[in-house]
């Protein structure tokens, strides 16, 4: 698998995700500057976490209109796999590649901690390293991760299997106690219609190394590398 990571001014998880992708794919990762207007030929494009353009105006709003994002949107339309993590998820919703929006956390506070996620389906190139119904432990680190869409949209997404991950308890219960930010229906990650684009608030790259206390994130990247090789 060959991957590219888009770097905006203010991206700060670009190195972390590149390390995790290199570890799982065995290939160097191409870093693409936001002002570039062409995407390299790769199997996966990743929009990393951080505070692109300082998150001024609204998280992800300015990044969604950068030169490189026009290319990402065009490529995604042709089936290019795209993964957005945290700020990357915000950018993808702002760019219209994914439904819904990420609002301020219900607590109004930034929150950094491990959360439990229920894998809604393993039937995607992004989640094939996990099993359907598995509970995985992945860290979050965000102030604006409160997923929202109207009920019709949420129903339609659920009907089409577009919910990838939900916040849950240690035992896998989808309840308020396991929901760290007030997200609608505990949604932590969503696919586009064709499951070729995934946006997720949690950071799998932060638990992809036993030295850091866990490898649930590595399983995801290993799965992606297998699916795209």
């Amino acid at each position: 698998m060959k991957a590219a990571v888009i770097v905006f001014p203010g991206s700060n998880c670009d190195r972390d995700i590149a390390v995790a992708l290199e570890q799982s794919s065995g290939n160097p990762v191409t870093m693409v500057w936001h002002r570039d207007s062409a995407l390299p030929k790769v199997d996966l494009v990743v929009i990393p976490g951080g505070f692109a353009y300082g998150d001024y105006l609204r998280c992800g709003a300015m990044a969604a209109h950068s030169p490189i994002m026009r290319e990402v949107v065009r490529a995604a339309g042709k089936g290019q796999p795209v993964l957005g993590i945290c700020n990357g998820f915000q950018v993808l919703t702002e760019a219209g590649l994914l439904p819904g929006v990420l609002m301020r956390n219900a607590s109004l506070k930034y929150l950094c901690k491990d959360v439990n996620l229920k894998v809604e389906t393993s039937q995607s190139l992004f989640t094939s390293g996990w099993t359907t119904g598995q509970v995985v432990r992945i860290p979050i680190g965000h102030g604006d991760g409160n997923y929202f869409a109207d009920n019709d949209t949420l129903n339609r997404m659920e009907d089409r299997g577009q919910v990838a991950l939900r916040y849950c308890s240690e035992q896998g219960a989808i309840d308020a106690g396991g929901n760290p930010n007030g997200s609608a229906r505990n949604i932590a990650g969503v696919f586009n219609d064709s499951k070729t684009v995934l946006g997720m608030m949690p950071h799998p790259e932060r638990l992809s190394d036993p030295a850091l206390g866990g490898t649930d994130g590595k399983d995801m990247f290993d799965g992606i590398a297998r699916a795209l090789t």
Binding site: D16, F51, Y110, C112, P139
Partner: protein, 737 residues
Amino acid sequence: MNISASRGNRPTITPELVAEHGLKPDEYDRLLVIMGREPTLTELGIFSVMWSEHCSYKSSKVWLKTLPTKAPHVICGPGENAGVIDIGDGQACIFKIESHNHPSYIEPYQGAATGVGGILRDVFTMGARPIANMNALRFGSPDHPKTRHLVAGVVAGIGGYGNCIGIPTVGGECNFHPSYNGNILVNAMTVGLAPADRIFYSKAAGPGNPVVYVGAKTGRDGIHGATMASAEFSDDSEEKRPTVQVGDPFTEKLLLEACLELMATDAIVSIQDMGAAGLTSSSVEMASKGGLGIELELDRVPMRETGMTPYEIMLSESQERMLMVIKPEAEAKARAIFDKWELDFATIGRVTDSGRLVLKMNGEVYADIPVAPLVDRAPLYERPWVPTPKRAVLAPSSVPAPPSLTGALTKLMASPDLASKRWIWEQYDHMVMADTQQRPGGDAAVVRVHRTKKALAITTDCTPRYCQADPELGGAQAVAETWRNLTAVGARPLAITDNMNFGNPERPEIMGQFVGCIAGMRAACRALDYPVVSGNVSLYNETNGKAILPTPVVGGVGLLDDSTKSATLAFKKAGETIILIGAISGHLGCSLYLRECLGREEGAPPPVDLAAERRNGDFVRGLIRDGRVTVCHDVSDGGLLVAIAEMALAGRMGATLQPPKNLPAHAWAFGEDQARYIVTCADADGVLAEARQAGVPAEAIGRTGGPTLTARDGDAISVGELARAHEAWLPGYMSNP
């Protein structure tokens, strides 16, 4: 040289104007001797900030000089932007702690945020990529009406800056005491990594070389209110700006990346961040260190407001700015890098061989100051001081026992100083950069050196109530506790940075506290081969004549050669023997038990035996390195039972203890004797025998396992209940209106 005669620059220098600039009459006389004439307003402003306590260390310097600063692994000690130590393999660790106390009290969010921004710049201006932030916070009594607001603002500000720039905030400390009601302490520390052969310094060189300004534009923020006021100024219609600077972490992120990108080339001769006193201190510092002059054209400074005067430009403390001397041939290359990051890049002057700081604007000269005397003949005071009277050691018999040990323990674990600070550190991104191996809540944070097996251990500590009771002992204890915390995770302690927070040094008893703390720190640094490589002094922390507790915060850094061999404090295996390393006398003076359970703040603090500290610590570090122990925790605030409870809560596992017969149980449980650690292991006999051989006191005190913590027969509490009490206090406090 003809000095501009404009009215704004040549006001009548009245004694009032001099006083408003914080200069004493004899200091002004000294200025006149150096200048040989009356100063311009710009010059007066420059002397005022350069000779301020903050920039000149005039009250503290004679004492700071007595601290040990050298060791074979020290690359650069105090005097530069930050300290630099060698961590092997061609790598250097650069770190420093700095206070932002007064601004954080006035405007907690921006005050704390710019404190983080400032210390980050101090570290990356030397060529390091920052890898971790820490913070040591002291707030007033939880009952004080401002405290909740200050906690919320400071925490949000630290998080807002660190989270955005993407440097993990991996730990720190937070205490409450009424002495901080009117003067909170916000001390921020940054640790970075650089190639050992590519450290950047501030010494200007090469007359003719361009002086370049990069980063954010200059505005009127941060110009000190006191120095701003003058007859001419008050005629001006400009409103007075707040004296607290406003931070923009996004700009700092760009500045960080641009500087590191430029530093990878050979364009830079010297570089200095614009921190306190902005363009003034950065240009003076560079010229002074190089023994050269600097001439600046102030109209070329990127400004975000119109009509700024030379005085305002020189005194602005706008954030996210750097000053560099670069090689002339590299100018185009350097400019291209800053263009890429969309930051201002302006050549605003040049290095000269005149030894003078010359400031011009619109072709007129506004200041012309000889640099060497401005720096070398700055006032230096050996202020009168009186030693702090010694307190009597509290007789154990005067300290009543609690009805139940676990009842008192629950109260302690839910007290403001010992309660979980999760509410704080969960608001900090402590995992970005994906190298945080031990997260907040342990003895020390452990952050891996990227793509290596090595890791740095980092901690900050100070026990102000000990420092108040006995400054010398308290100073030694602060240093020793950092050393112990680094040891408890298995690291080899290498060096410290210090943040000396005190009251008004013009009062002999406050100066006595300062002198005492320094003496204790000096002794501890020597005994532990643990030099000071950087630091900061914050004086005048008092309101209405009431000073804060003396608070010499110590930030320690240690190295783990193999990060897989570090220890954590969470109980891991049931049925293991719990061993206490270190001697126990049950010292209850100045203890948290005395304060929280009995409402008494008295007695002498626990003695600090530095030889025992070293012996016990070296022994424990060896046990961890050799994999002989499963977990390790140091014993500090609250004593033995609190330490055990912290291990139980972290591991969600109980323990059963047996107090000895020769000591009152509450003195055993809550005494705060120093130089102690708790370890658990399977092979207790082996460890105890080895301890005997090494001359280290050690005894088995209980076993791990079960859902309850049993302090003695019939005196137990469930770990779950203790956890709820421990976790509930701070969120509960912060959610109350």
